[in-house]
Symmetry: C2
Subunit: 339 residues, 2 copies
C-alpha cells in the first residue's frame, strides 16, 4: 500500500509500505477514506522535533473496518469508524474520568495514518462507528472529529467555556478555528479570535467569532483587556504551543478565569511566580478526543456543525509532501489527503 514517510525535516515521501494486519486480538485494520496533515506534523517538518529515522506519518483517520481481531466486539467489518491519535481501552479509571489520552493502556496510533490502511490497537475502546455509511460530503467533517475538532473542543471545555462567558482564542490554525466553533456550540456570549490572516478571520467569523484581534503578544493582551473592561477574558483557548502563545493566553485571562491549552508545548517554561499571581486555572494536554466523539459525530451527522470547512486544500495521498508545504507556508489551513 502507499504511505507517507518522513525522512528528515522537509522530506516527506509517499512510498510503498507493508500493509498492516491484525497483530493483537484487540486490533482492527481500517481502510482509510480520508486522512490529513496535522499542525503537529509541522514540528518535525520544520526541524523543531528531530527525525531520527524514517517515520510513517499521520494520526488522523476515518475509514471502513477491513479486519478485526478475535477479541473485538464493538465494531465489525464494514463499519465506518473514527478514532483518536491515542488508542485507549475506555474502561480504566482514567478513561472513565474522561482522560482517554492518558489511559493506563494507551498506545499511540503509530502506524502512520497518511496511508491506505491503518492498524488501530484497542479497537473496542478507541473506535466509534457512525450510524451508517456517511454521505461523501460529511467525510471531511467526520475526519475533523478525529483530532482537530476534538482538540479545539477539549480546549474550550478545559477553558470552562459556557453561557455568558467571554472567550479568547490564541492561534488561528485548524484547532484554534474549531475552538471558536466549540465555544459557539457551548454557548459563549462573546468569542474573540486572534488572527491576522484574512482567510482565517473569515472562517473564524463564520464559525461564530464575534470579535477579531490582529495584534499579538503584549499588544494582543492589551487589546483583549480593552475589550473586557480591563479584566481579561473568562476563558482562553491556547492552540499554538509556544512560549509566546502560552504567556499571551495566561495574560489575556482574568483572575479566576480559565486557560485551556491544547497546542503541543515546545520549549515552554512557565514562570511560577507570574502564574501564582495571575490566579488563572490552567488545564490542557493531548485532547481526550474519545470522550467527545459520540457527541461530535452526532453534531456532524445531524449537520448542526460543519468543521470540515477547515480543509481548504484536498490532494491525493501521493502528493502529501505538497500538503506539508502548503500548510507550512500558510497557503492552506489544513490539507485533506485522499488515499
Amino acid at each position: 500500500m502507499l504511505g507517507a514517510v518522513m525522512y528528515a525535516a522537509g522530506d516527506v515521501r509517499v512510498e510503498e509500505r507493508e500493509r498492516p494486519t491484525v497483530v493483537n486480538p484487540t486490533d482492527a485494520v481500517i481502510r482509510l477514506s480520508a486522512t490529513c496533515v496535522c499542525g503537529s506534523d509541522l514540528w518535525p517538518w520544520r526541524g523543531a522535533d528531530p527525525v531520527t529515522r524514517p517515520t510513517p506519518m499521520g494520526h488522523e483517520y476515518v475509514g471502513v473496518v477491513e479486519e478485526v481481531g478475535d477479541a473485538v466486539r464493538n465494531v465489525k467489518v464494514g463499519d465506518f469508524v473514527i478514532g483518536s491519535f491515542f488508542a485507549s481501552d475506555n474502561t480504566c479509571e482514567i478513561c472513565r474520568a474522561g482522560y482517554q489520552t492518558s489511559c493506563v493502556h494507551r498506545e499511540f496510533v503509530a502506524g502512520g495514518a497518511q496511508a491506505e490502511y491503518l492498524r488501530v490497537p484497542l479497537a473496542d475502546g478507541t473506535l466509534v462507528a457512525t450510524p451508517g455509511m456517511p454521505e461523501p460530503d460529511l467525510v471531511p467533517s467526520l475526519l475533523a472529529a478525529s483530532d482537530v475538532l476534538g482538540t479545539g473542543w477539549f480546549g474550550a471545555v478545559a477553558a470552562q467555556v459556557g453561557p455568558g462567558r467571554t472567550v479568547a482564542v490564541v492561534g488561528d490554525g485548524a484547532v484554534g478555528l474549531l475552538g471558536v466553533l466549540a465555544a459557539r456550540q457551548l454557548g459563549a456570549a462573546r468569542i474573540i479570535a486572534m488572527s491576522r490572516y484574512e482567510s482565517r478571520q473569515k472562517l473564524a467569523l463564520e464559525f461564530g467569532a464575534t470579535d477579531l484581534v490582529t495584534e499579538r503578544g503584549d499588544e494582543g493582551v492589551a487589546r483583549i483587556r480593552e475589550l473586557t473592561d480591563g479584566l481579561g477574558a473568562h476563558s482562553v483557548i491556547e492552540a499554538v504551543g509556544t512560549q509566546e502563545s502560552m504567556m499571551q493566553a495566561i495574560r489575556a485571562t482574568r483572575a479566576g478565569g480559565h486557560v485551556g491549552f491544547v497546542g503541543v508545548s515546545h520549549g515552554v517554561e512557565l514562570p511560577g511566580e507570574e502564574l501564582f499571581f495571575s490566579h488563572v486555572h490552567l488545564h490542557g494536554g493531548p485532547a481526550p478526543v474519545r470522550r467527545f466523539l459520540p457527541e461530535l459525530i452526532r453534531l456532524v451527522w445531524d449537520r448542526e456543525i460543519d468543521p470540515g470547512r477547515v480543509f481548504d486544500l484536498e490532494l491525493p495521498l501521493s502528493e502529501a509532501a505538497e500538503g506539508y508545504r502548503a500548510m507550512d507556508e500558510r497557503r492552506a489551513i489544513k490539507v485533506l489527503l485522499r488515499p
Copy 2:
C-alpha cells in the same frame, strides 16, 4: 506603639513606631488581639527575598475596631474583626467571582500587623466581624482564619477536594496542616500528609490525615502512586512554593486530577511539555481568604474546627525575633505573638 520591623535577613527588631490612624474614609484602625509570624515571612528572613529598607512585618490579624473612616458601614468601633492580607472592595466583578486577592482595588495590608495597631484599607470589603467578643481560647483559631486556614482551605478548594477523593498534601507547615483539616471538612475519602517531622505528623493525623508519607521528591511521588493504584491522587495541595515541591505535587496527581498550589512561588519554572502531558489541572495563587471568612468564622465559633492548634509557641510581641528563629529552625510550626 510597638511594632516589628525587618532590617535585613535574620534581623527583626521590635521598636517604637507611629500609631496608625485613619487616612482614607474607607479605612479602619484596629487594636490587635493577636498576630503571628507567617511562613512567607521566612523568605526575607532567610535572604530568599531582598530586604531593601526597614520593613514593618506581619499581615495576619484579629482585633477590635478602634476607629473607622466616615465611609465605613459594615463594621463599627468595638467590633471584633478578622481580615485578610489583601484589602479588597468585595464588590468588583473579580471579588464577586471569589477572587478578592485580585480585586481591582486590592491593596496589600502593608502597615505591619506584628504591632499593637493596624490600619486596614477598604474596611467594608475586607473585615468580617465575629458574632460577638470571642472567648479567649477561640482567638488563636480566629487568627488562623486570617491567613493560614484560609490559604489551606483555598488550596483544598483549588485542588477540587470533595467526597470520595484521595488527597495528598505537599508541605507540613501550618498551611499544609490546615490543608489537611480543610480536606477533612470538605469530605475527602483519604488524606495523605507528606511529613518527616513527628510533631507535624501528629497534628496532621489529628486534623484528619489517614496516611503519612515521609519520602520526598521522586521517592515521595512513587509512594503516593503506590498508595493510589499507580494512578496518583485526585487532588494535591501544594503548600511550599519551591521547584521541588511544585514538581512533586504535579507528579503525584493523576491525569485529570487537580493541583491546588498555595505556596508562594520562589524561583519556580514549570516545564510546559511535562505539564501538557501530565493532564493535571493547575490552580492556585494568593488565597482569596475573604471568600471563605464567613464560613471559617462560623466553623471556629461553633467549635467544629480548632485550627489554632498550629500555634505551638506563643510569645509577647516584643520577642518577635525569637518567633522568627523558632520557625526558621523548625522548633515551632507557627508562632503567635501577643501585643
